[in-house]
Subunit: 295 residues, 4 copies
Amino acid sequence: MQLRTDLAVEAREFLGEDLRDVEYSKEDVKGLTVERLHIKTKRAGQLLGKEWGRYVTITLPSLSDDMRDTDERIGVIAKEIRRLLPVNGLVLVAGLGNPEITPDALGPKCAASVLATRHISGEVARSTGLDRLRCVAVLSTGVTGQTGIETGEFVLSIVKRIKPTAVIVVDALASRRLERLGCTLQISDTGISPGAGVGNHRTKLSAETLGVPVIALGIPTVVDALTLVSDLVNVDDEREQETLREKVSPKGRAMVVTPKEVDLLVERGARLVSLSINMALHSGIETDELLALLQ
Amino acid sequence: MQLRTDLAVEAREFLGEDLRDVEYSKEDVKGLTVERLHIKTKRAGQLLGKEWGRYVTITLPSLSDDMRDTDERIGVIAKEIRRLLPVNGLVLVAGLGNPEITPDALGPKCAASVLATRHISGEVARSTGLDRLRCVAVLSTGVTGQTGIETGEFVLSIVKRIKPTAVIVVDALASRRLERLGCTLQISDTGISPGAGVGNHRTKLSAETLGVPVIALGIPTVVDALTLVSDLVNVDDEREQETLREKVSPKGRAMVVTPKEVDLLVERGARLVSLSINMALHSGIETDELLALLQ
Amino acid sequence: MQLRTDLAVEAREFLGEDLRDVEYSKEDVKGLTVERLHIKTKRAGQLLGKEWGRYVTITLPSLSDDMRDTDERIGVIAKEIRRLLPVNGLVLVAGLGNPEITPDALGPKCAASVLATRHISGEVARSTGLDRLRCVAVLSTGVTGQTGIETGEFVLSIVKRIKPTAVIVVDALASRRLERLGCTLQISDTGISPGAGVGNHRTKLSAETLGVPVIALGIPTVVDALTLVSDLVNVDDEREQETLREKVSPKGRAMVVTPKEVDLLVERGARLVSLSINMALHSGIETDELLALLQ
Amino acid sequence: MQLRTDLAVEAREFLGEDLRDVEYSKEDVKGLTVERLHIKTKRAGQLLGKEWGRYVTITLPSLSDDMRDTDERIGVIAKEIRRLLPVNGLVLVAGLGNPEITPDALGPKCAASVLATRHISGEVARSTGLDRLRCVAVLSTGVTGQTGIETGEFVLSIVKRIKPTAVIVVDALASRRLERLGCTLQISDTGISPGAGVGNHRTKLSAETLGVPVIALGIPTVVDALTLVSDLVNVDDEREQETLREKVSPKGRAMVVTPKEVDLLVERGARLVSLSINMALHSGIETDELLALLQ
């Protein structure tokens, strides 16, 4: 049976830690666990089932650890994001996923709290001091089933028009381990691979397809039920596997495992990600001033 | 490990089908499977871990079977509810659960769509023809964590004041099998036992505590993750059990299994239950007229 | 003082009914009042403060007249929309406005209920009979303040990519008369002029800017407070006008007049518009079949 | 024509400032205008069309002044509330109004953010330090049209059961002046009079009906449209009055004047009121600690 995870560190965990062309380090920064995974070749990426590139995985101590807006750890995350961004120029932030499906709503909820500034300019911006803000545009792509437009072509259309220097995409993820739900933030420079995320966004969003660096950010909101069970049960017999599959995914319907309070998890996750993005983008102004703009 | 289910038919399934003082029958009505379980003694109830009394379990063909308002099968469900109600007099409908936690929101969402009529009376009701409607009051209890008031004492306070002839309580349930999620409706005359439901409503709501018949209605929205796994894995060793428990319920945090589209499931379930209740209560008017009042 | 209205028939009312190059007719169709206004020249348009082109204004008997999905009058509205559309080819439906500001949420709420079909094609569509549906893409543009992207350039980006044969834009309108709120539907082939609508979408959305026919649909959800008062009070003195303006629009803040139940008005309006659009686009299938797809 | 206001200071403004048995003072506290109005006799109350008792009206500098959680002015408001409360004992906070009608949703939105503590007690409370919190229960009454239960009897039922030492009721208000919307907070020890508020809660909630002190809190979210117009237009002729009335309130339908961003106004107002109540009730713990509990 297959193990599904959107976290590169979990793919590495599973395949063993001595992979060629894969660099890994781990450190503790202000109470956060920061893991850095560098998949250096396409081949190593294929082995891991992940795009090659850099992944930073930040783990919070606990699911219920709800950071205040002024928590210095948000600064740690912001710094990791900023490291992957070009120094100057317009950034497009795109929230992926379905706002009406709670475990998939991380992207749109996050987008709703990212500060857009692209339309503020010239004299007005100067007189209000907003010219110290970076130029940012924000997008919520919806899902193909509701728009008839693939997420990839949606973002590409806007990219062609507004010509950002980088794109940040935010999406809900699936992890392999329940203890990671809501506590782990993955940042990568690889874009988002087809089929990743909680939803099913088919077109790849990457430097290759969009023509500019694509930073992907996500927090796992679910564990695929079949992955959880496969992880716990050893079944070799094919027929038994089939029976198990039918029990865990009746009529082929995908089931997910979450805390009952999935709404709270998504709410908090979106707040954490949007705050981190805002802080990463607008390093020219003080946290307090930024928080006031976000109200 | 323990198997948790709020469905009496699942408790019977598990314990075996030849229990003393338990009557069971099953029939097909217009494409719905209708199971009737009568737990005739307190002792049999204890054996099953359920209150003694009558349980009607109605199973729809499929999770995605989204009935139209005018589907005749809603009439079948309405008839089963009506059978448990007194013929005349005020009925209080209480939606239990947390409106902000999707898998627990069946009760409040349902309450929002039940037609309240208790305040319409006298000349106005007569002249508009609304005097053919039964007298109904509707309540959403919230959860103790947000109100500081136990669900049981909340409902009792209102019952003492408005003196209904019966109370209908609606709550999200947990089932043992994933294929039942959103497809199964349990109706019982036993009230709701402490600790039942997706949430954690401690005080019993029953004829005993409220002084009038209590009809409980629910649809399973989740399977407890530990129940799912226990059902699939045979572990006897205590230490292995502990490891398993930590994986499925990290740090003791309860996890649930649902379809990703849990929002849709709850939305549809609430619509089905509220329509059935409205039809059960107001048998004196035509479906079309009732639907017009509900807009 | 200025009178603000997004309804062409109200502009005509105000300026007098004998305008050159303006054709007007009025008829009753199944209980709906259907007015047709044809502004035949640019000059006449400037006089009226409206784009030149065709306007169809449909008035429902009452604000509280909440049509059932199967009401035949929806067919009347659908027919008027269809008349302005090309016979074949992809149509893009764009909901304009801010989903978080109730009186401005008509567009996004409507978009959420329009059936997207562009992604369903080939064998799947044929085997499910969905190949009888017209090809439709759906978009919710958000507002510039939240996205940093002008509504016009947003829609244009997507138009360039997916190349529709026509665009339908839906937006909340402001009328001059309170009795029109929620009861009047304006359909035009003129696109949407800058600054129109409840919000403030600066770029023009029209055949000229988008390169394909643009059908604009809207329902008034507010009356501008200053317009209402100017309409009732005759003040010539400039200082008195200033005092009045400060009272009705304190510190220059725009105030609107609505029924208190503006949420209900917008909800119902969005349902009416989306149903009419769905029916206009998919004339190849029966109403019942269409409604089943919309659930 | 009639002027409708729920603010006692506006009633006084209108009737003249030299009323017998009415004391009035005004001061500036940390940038807030604090007005104290004491209606000392029933007779004076009847003259003003307000219940007799004490009214404290706090005016913020501006509608868009969105206070941070830690703003010291919230402490000023909290102190005024605390002054009207008994020193010890359970307090019941009841949010009045319809959560689904934006201008009426201040009460329920506020209730959702007030900290309930009545269910936390004994050893658990002591070990977590929560025994320093005051005992609080929280209620959202809904509206009679949805529950069939009068707001007054709803609150009375719960009061009889849980026996609080005081009740705080929160409701959206109507003011006479637009510049007050969202900027003015009225606190009184008079309870809420029948028909007051944006909604239409018929039964009086007062010390007389509930048997314990009733503190009423509200923020104006609308101006009645007829009040606004009557205030600006002088019409003596009865027939002209009728014409005006029909224009401003077509078919008798009440219209209200609000800023278009009424959602934002209600959101911010509810946050301000709930923070002030939380701070008033829990003076035993630090603001920071309180804010952490509220997340």
